[in-house]
């Protein structure tokens, strides 16, 4: 189904389309704003952090053997 948000900007939106866009945006915003509180997100972020630290320490070893 086409999302009215992606209609040509010069085409007017009906109240129904405007309400549909608002609902979709609010849902995306809510999911994004709350993600940092999720334990799943926190575990992945910690995992990424550890991997980056490992990458950096490896690059230091390669640069200064």
């Amino acid at each position: 189904m086409n999302n009215p948000l992606f209609k040509r900007p010069d085409e007017p939106l009906s109240p129904l389309e405007d309400a549909e866009i608002t609902k979709e945006l609010a849902e995306a915003y809510r999911l994004n704003e709350n993600c940092e509180k999720q334990p799943e997100f926190q575990r992945i972020a910690e995992n990424v952090k550890q991997r980056i630290l490992k990458e950096k320490s490896l690059s230091v070893i390669v640069t200064n053997p």
């Binding site: 992606f6 993600c35 799943e40 972020a45």
Partner: protein, 207 residues
Amino acid sequence: MMLPDTSLSLLSRLRDEGDHTGWQVSWKRFLELYHEPLLAMAAGIYRHHTGHAVPPQAVIEDVVASVVVDFFKRNRFDPERGRLRTYLRVLTNARIVDMLRKERPLNHESLAAGENSMVETLPSETQEENQSFQHALLATLIEDLREHIPLRQFEIFEMVKLKGMTAEQVAIEIGVQRGVIDNTIYKVMTRLREIAANPEYLEEYYT
């Protein structure tokens, strides 16, 4: 050709070689925006390659972390050459295949030929993955909008359109006439639709 100044094109230049702090801020923001579709991608691809086995949560999270690091380390995403979702699916598929290869019992060496086709052929996108990616894209669009309009306008838009306050409530809260709120919302929605009309967004949004 100059790339349009959108969050999607910014993703291709996120990594700043000399600035470790910048890298850290960038990956965190990227993870906030895209961890949900990456989780859905990893789970769908895992199920595809294992005959619909239930993916262990720890494995899927590890794959997502690895894909995020890969994304920044390789630094090869270019919106002019292909879609972000395809690029992320290729990285995710490669990590899943690597992981399955490592887990394979030593007496299953004969699977090697099949593994090459696992890497080359991307499984179909699941509905969950598509929906999750669309949400991430809308969140990216909001981020993009935030960078393109004055802060006050964004705050009004955020309160009315994203947090569900009425125009009257916002007018009272910030001490302006109701008409100011309506005008601002109209202006911001027009700007949002202009940004969304960027072909990058259209191509990424629709499968």
